[in-house]
């Protein structure tokens, strides 16, 4: 499928409507509304404590909002409020139509289980029951994320940081999700490793027509991966727009500060 067919789709995939989260007196997220369309990559940027990770948890239904709601268009084409989904449906969504790439691969992988089984687990969870086919699919995905297929039976605890992150991506994409959440996907990696990972993610996202919500404090990641960006500060979205628009022509004082804080390449 070409990227075009996804971006021209006029029905939103995910809709956030007046989302808020309070921790006692503290408002971690306030009044956040937006729509994400199929094939669209949205970056959420802001400094630590700006509420971007809380927002990601709200959007991925891991945290219940204090107000507002998140709706998702299921594969049957119906937009449904995530809060009224049963836990079984939510978890099913999480291992089929969604992916979640954690900053720390140890959170997203089974570190003591072989790479092949890490990738195959989601397939087995949806009822694949043929070892040969599961293994073939795992091999294909390892190749796509540029991991030597000879390492398929090694556990990720024997992998380097960059390989672990790529394995985590393969594990998430094997069920061909339509939406992937990423929490600082390049955090904690060497610069050279980051570049390779970003390039890989950029290609996969456009080849598969994935929609993605990427939380990052790194504006370079936002520029390379995303179509659209939301700048957060103090739990609010203070500026939003096309990524190059916001980064080349920032309007808000805080966004200007963020952009001007980047060292020239």
């Amino acid at each position: 499928m070409s990227e075009a067919s996804h971006l021209d789709n006029d029905q939103p995939l995910l809709v956030a409507d007046g989302l808020a989260k309070n921790y006692g007196q503290l408002a971690a997220c306030r009044d956040i509304s937006f729509s994400l369309y199929p094939g669209e990559v949205l970056a959420i940027v802001g400094e630590s404590g700006s509420g971007k990770s809380t927002l990601l948890q709200l959007l991925s239904a891991q945290l219940a909002p204090s107000a507002g709601r998140v709706s998702y268009r299921m594969r049957d084409g119906v937009l449904r409020d995530l809060a009224v989904l049963g836990e079984a449906e939510r978890r099913f969504l999480f291992r089929t139509d969604w992916g979640f790439v954690h900053q720390d691969p140890a959170q997203g992988l089974r570190m003591g289980v072989s790479a092949g089984a890490n990738v195959g687990e989601r397939l087995m969870a949806v009822g694949w029951n043929h070892y040969g086919k599961i293994r073939d699919s795992a091999s294909t995905w390892l190749e796509r994320v540029e991991i030597d297929v000879g390492r398929i039976d090694d556990a990720p605890k024997t992998y380097s940081g960059g390989m672990r992150q790529r394995l985590q991506i393969a594990r998430n994409l094997v069920t061909e999700p339509r939406l992937v959440f990423m929490d600082e996907p390049t955090g904690g990696l060497d610069v050279s490793v980051q570049a390779r990972l970003l390039d890989l993610m950029r290609n996969l996202v456009s080849e598969l027509g994935l929609a993605a919500i990427v939380v990052t404090h790194d504006l370079a990641v936002a520029r390379l991966l995303s179509h659209r960006v939301m700048v957060m500060k103090g739990g609010r979205v203070i500026e939003t727009g096309l990524t190059d628009q916001v980064l080349d022509d920032p309007r808000e004082p805080y966004t200007q500060l963020l952009v001007s804080s980047i060292l020239p390449p």
Binding site: A4, L7, H227, G241, Q256
Partner: protein
């Protein structure tokens, strides 16, 4: 309207919050239009706002007031108020932008960098690569370089790759920001040729060119940006 681009009283001001909220007016009252098959060249001294206008037409700079009408899929869309998704759609199938500098994608072969805009619009990979090869040959990029990423090339070579990438598609609007700046005479002539071919195909173009000779070769009309200078 039949125009591909129609600007009416477009205005742009930068507010520099980090400098105590200084307002930096760039342009105001920008009004001109571009017909299909026409190349409009923006003129004026540097700092007059030529690049800013080009970036506004591409949706890269936001327009503070006024209107930037773009004919997209038969309808007119106002870029000043368009949704991000519409802007992306316009960039994919209506407006191409050839900047002075290639924003190199790491690890991707030159031929694929050039072919990408076609592939994104649904052209088969092999055909896209064939057409990319044609253009690269015309622009005198040796075939042995095609499989290498352009990030290692010289400035002039990178610019020619960028031109190839910009001219390969069949988009009805092209924005050219100094496309011949660091090219030798032979390659400048190729670019002039490419622009002439686009005109015969009805492509509307807006260009910034400093070289007087080139300007006369390509311009159908010249719009003097000085009149839009926003004196504070």
């Amino acid at each position: 309207m039949t125009a591909m681009i129609e600007l009416a009283n477009a205005e742009k001001t930068f507010t520099m919050h980090l400098q105590g909220g200084v307002e930096l007016p760039v342009v105001r009252g920008v009004s001109f239009h571009v017909e299909p098959g026409e190349c409009v060249v923006l003129s004026g001294p540097s700092g007059a706002g030529k690049s800013s206008i080009l970036k506004m037409i591409f949706g890269n700079y936001r327009c503070d007031s006024g209107r930037i009408g773009i004919r997209h899929h038969g309808a007119v869309i106002d870029l000043a108020t368009a949704e991000p998704r519409q802007v992306l759609s316009i960039r994919r199938s209506t407006i191409g932008y050839v900047s002075q500098f290639l924003r190199a994608v790491p690890r991707v072969a030159t031929i694929d960098v050039v072919a990408e805009p076609l592939i994104v619009n649904g052209v088969a990979r092999e055909e896209a690569r064939t057409r990319a090869g044609h253009l690269l040959r015309r622009l005198n990029i040796p075939e042995r370089l095609w499989t290498l990423p352009p990030s290692t090339f010289s400035g002039g070579e990178q610019q020619r790759v960028n031109i190839a990438r910009g001219f390969i598609s069949d988009l009805p609007i092209l924005l050219l920001d100094e496309p011949t700046a660091s090219l030798d005479a032979a390659n400048r002539a190729v670019v002039v040729e490419l622009i002439a071919e686009k005109k015969t195909k009805g492509v509307a173009m807006v260009a910034i060119v400093h070289d007087d000779e080139i300007r006369h070769l390509i311009a159908d009309r010249i719009v003097d940006v000085t009149s839009f200078a926003a004196a504070a």
